[in-house]
């Protein structure tokens, strides 16, 4: 008595042998891909298609032996969840029932439907005394159906699929409106599958390309995979901003000057350079370096005086350097260098003046103290070298822009990983 049942595809007229006759409910015609209802004696067309998908890693109809049982691949599905795409093969043996072969990311799994159910306890399940932790819970869509199946299935079918893992063994739970099915999935080597079946390597679902943004894209709860692109766009924008800040602030012309200041004395005024601003507006940067004093500070009040209008633009700087020792050991603070940025300086020629005063910490040196190296000189002094330049770079502006650019993808990333 032969078990096979032959039907004629109502769409293309092709003759199809039903291999699991008596069990099979849905048939995807291997010639035209049309979906047929073969639950009853009369074959009903569910959806007509023009072309059967052929690019499966294993062709339906192939037979092979796995775990000492000969299996026939009677159906194949292509399924998708987010950006992941994989293939599932339904294996059949009339004496052993159904099994699954799942090909994803270049790897294989062998699936057995469970007759007993794992006990659900939230983010993990226990099955036959072992605990499986929730790995993934997402909607799965079936995109291609070919061959025969013992349940009603169609392209576009959606189920909620959860995966629980214990080591490399997985339990998969698929939930539809009507039922919940559990499947145990164990890894199986590609060599083993290749020994059993003819595997078309070029039709295997591709392993994911190495991608720095992978971690973001695969995070749960995020369908969009544009986060990596967002970071790239933000980075490119920051590069443009850097170039704009550097090239649009010129031309750069500098003028040098120096001053010597007595520590503890009243402030003194020094002319430290001349600058010509050649554009309607420019930044002006004044950099100062001092000799290496300790425990002193120098207040610097700069004035840019326009030669034509005698109007002045004021700015402020400070050079300070302290050292000491406390319970944590020696420490130092400050540096012998300072930069002052002056914004919106209008076109014109400017004399640069500084009102400078220096003091000691915690107190000024006693007045009239004599420097043994220079007994006839004035008291202790600080030497300052100034360089005033048109143009400049506002680091504050740069970091503000960086923060505004990266806050958007940064917030999305935080939102994704806050659990």
């Amino acid at each position: 008595m032969t078990g096979a049942r032959a039907v004629t595809c109502p769409s293309c007229g092709g003759s199809i042998e039903i291999r699991a006759a008596g069990y099979t409910v849905t048939l995807g015609c291997r010639y035209c891909g049309s979906l047929l209802d073969v639950a009853n004696e009369d074959v009903r067309l569910i959806t007509a298609y023009r072309r059967a998908a052929k690019n499966f890693a294993i062709a339906p109809g192939a037979r092979g032996t796995l775990f000492d049982v000969e299996w026939e691949v009677i159906g194949a599905l292509r399924r998708r969840s987010g950006s992941a795409i994989w293939q599932e093969f339904l294996l059949f043996n009339p004496y052993s029932g159904y099994r699954w072969l799942v090909a994803s990311d270049g790897e294989w799994q062998f699936g057995t439907m469970l007759l007993d159910r794992p006990e659900d306890d939230g983010l993990a399940v226990s099955w036959r005394g072992r605990s499986f932790a929730l790995e993934d819970d997402a909607e799965i869509e079936t995109t291609t159906v070919i061959g025969e199946f013992y349940w009603r299935t169609a392209r576009g079918d959606k189920v909620q699929g959860a995966t629980f893992a214990n080591g490399r063994e997985q339990l998969s739970r698929e939930t539809t409106a009507d039922e919940v099915t559990w499947t145990q999935l164990i890894p199986i080597t590609a060599e083993w599958v290749s020994e059993a079946f003819k595997v078309e390597q070029r039709h295997m679902p591709r392993p994911p390309r190495p991608d720095l943004t992978e971690g973001f894209r695969k995070a749960p709860g995020m369908a969009e995979d544009d986060l990596g692109k967002m970071f790239l766009v933000a980075l490119a924008s920051l590069g443009l901003i850097l170039m704009a800040q550097v090239f649009l602030s010129g031309p750069r012309v500098c003028s040098d000057g120096r001053a010597t200041i007595e520590v503890g004395a009243a402030t003194s005024t020094h002319r430290i350079g001349t600058l010509e601003v050649r554009r309607p507006w420019q930044l002006v940067t004044i950099a100062v370096d001092s000799d290496s004093f300790t425990n002193r500070w120098v207040d610097l009040d700069y004035s840019l005086v326009n030669r034509r209008t005698q109007q002045s633009i004021d700015a402020y700087g400070i050079v300070e350097y302290y050292t000491g020792t406390d319970s944590d050991g020696p420490w130092s603070e400050g540096e012998h260098h300072a930069e002052t940025l002056i914004a919106r300086v209008p076109r014109g020629t400017y004399d640069v003046f500084v009102d400078a005063g220096s003091h000691g910490w915690p107190t000024d040196p006693p007045p009239g103290s004599i420097d043994p190296a220079n007994p006839w000189g004035p008291g202790e002094t600080v030497a300052l070298w100034f360089r005033s330049c048109t143009g400049g770079f506002s680091w504050g502006m740069f970091w503000l822009m960086a923060a505004l650019l990266f806050s958007v993808p940064g917030l999305i990333l935080w939102w994704r990983h806050r659990d």
Binding site: S237, E333, R344, S394
Partner: protein, 49 residues
């Protein structure tokens, strides 16, 4: 391109434009014209603790 990505690209372009304009007009909110009140005429020294 997703709607979200389009919006974000517009936001980036806006920031680049703002940055270019501010450079051209030599404007920045982070200049040193104002002496902060806490540092004027008071005792100064290390903030080291």
């Amino acid at each position: 391109m997703s709607k979200r990505m389009t919006l974000f690209t517009i936001w980036c372009a806006l920031l680049v434009a703002v940055s270019a304009l501010s450079s051209w007009f030599a404007w920045t909110p982070f200049s040193d014209e104002e002496r902060s009140s806490s540092s004027s005429g008071y005792y100064r020294g290390p903030t080291h603790k």
